[in-house]
Symmetry: D2
Subunit: 164 residues, 4 copies
């Protein structure tokens, strides 16, 4: 039986300290729920922090990597999926996540939010700018949820998720 | 020798009348410059209007289709590329365009702008909301250009394009 | 730390009884080694049988699905990755497998063997025709291994695998 | 109105002299029919030779490139499509071709033949080994056509093509 997968997406570089701290805590909390964590899998930024947080809490972690390169995988990733399709893999990230939690913002992350909304996925925005919150809410009133800390993100995920 | 390709991206459905009129004119003007037009290739919305505009001006048109379906191609498309990779094809759209001109906004279009900026492509925004202009400018000061009509889009493309 | 992933690939339809029996046994044996099983994830043919075999032996199973469709997943799949990229996902299947074991043959399976060899992956052929064995050996003497039963496939995987 | 596209696929490296001579002639003959040529777009092997042949005969040429790299495009390519998806782009090559003509054989080419047959495309094999002809015929009696020179390939394409 398919396990519940929660995606955590955010910047790989130019992350803020709070992006990384929140991502680590998100990873922990997701693991504590018994959910599988999915990220972009690289050994940088939000994906790395979330994966390490989930492992600290004994979770299972999936990394969907943009290249076919075994040297850029986060140590926190259990299952590495090598796509070799660059940023087009962002669509796989969001399609494979039951819910997408976004922590911070960047051009790559913005593509993930947009692709998620394009496929009617629910997206939870944490640590986002006013511009980002205003824009994505204008694109989709119904599928964008704004939270202020990782615990609220998890509570929101449980509320909006279609987890039997 | 590789020809210059200009991408026109915009909503497939829920387009406004001005989105469609501008897209048609963009197609015409791109063809008149001797540039090749690239769109998402379907027979709806901005991609359809731009392709028909380019054909009216005897241009060459490429459509990068999301599915492997010969019944949803715009009549204005000369060269249909069938990707069968859904919205992940949006990355191909922007990588294959020397410059991306965006006309209107939607979730799919937002993913194209974000993916273009992720790969350091220059993006010209036409007929966009304040939220969209503010957000994408916040993501990339240097690669986002805002214009108010199709002629200005073409002038901007010529100015910023790296066309020998 | 990344886990070892063994891919089992084979026909989805027009399978023989021995294809299915071997696939089930391969799934069991892979799980017993502590390896993760990766398949194409659908609820048919070799991918379904291998996934169910691995679950029977308490293994962990990944399915890389061609569409974004939650109704066609094998019951034996724990982690469903939705690519929505049709048969192009076959490249992800092989890139993400440390070793590819092929059980039976079809057009889709042939593409996986060819893509695996293209990326210098080692491929173990089980239950293949003379034409298949002759062709793939002619393409790559060094990376094609021919076995006659599932136990031999596992022994070969252990011998040729680069598992520390 | 969509133009007819004929794909020519074959090895990028380790080509034989006859692979290259046949590929060049195929490009010329395809252009003379008024068909568009589609190849893998790189500046090596069969794709390069076919593209140059088509340009010598004033044809239109498309190259579907595996990377996002402007330095590896064949001089014979008019329209460069940058997929940045590695060998997964082979599926786009075959889906976008009305008929696939294969000239020579390699692991990448084998994946294209298999993916073409997987999607019920007709494939014409030129300059192939006995192993290749035997294997692909065993996979699909109805969609594999074996020819002995470029002119026969074109005659066969006209006969089996669904070109109104």
């Amino acid at each position: 039986m398919r396990k519940i997968i929660i995606g955590v997406m955010g910047p790989g570089d130019r992350t803020t300290a709070s992006d990384l701290a929140y991502a680590y805590e998100l990873g922990q909390l997701i693991a504590q729920q018994g959910w599988v964590l999915l990220t972009g899998g690289r050994n940088v930024g939000v994906m790395d922090a979330a994966s390490k947080g989930a492992k600290e809490a004994n979770g299972l972690t999936i990394g969907i990597l943009p290249k076919n390169d075994r040297n850029s995988i986060s140590e926190g990733v259990d299952i590495a999926i090598f796509t070799d399709m660059g940023n087009a893999r962002n669509n796989i990230n969001v399609l494979s996540s039951d819910i997408v939690i976004v922590c911070g913002m960047s051009t790559g992350t913005a593509s993930e939010v947009a692709l998620a909304l394009r496929s009617n996925k629910k997206v939870i925005l944490l640590n986002n700018t006013e511009e980002s919150k205003a824009f994505f809410t204008s694109l989709s009133k119904d599928n964008v949820f704004i939270v202020t800390n990782p615990r609220e993100a998890i509570l929101t995920a449980k509320e909006i998720g279609d987890f039997a």
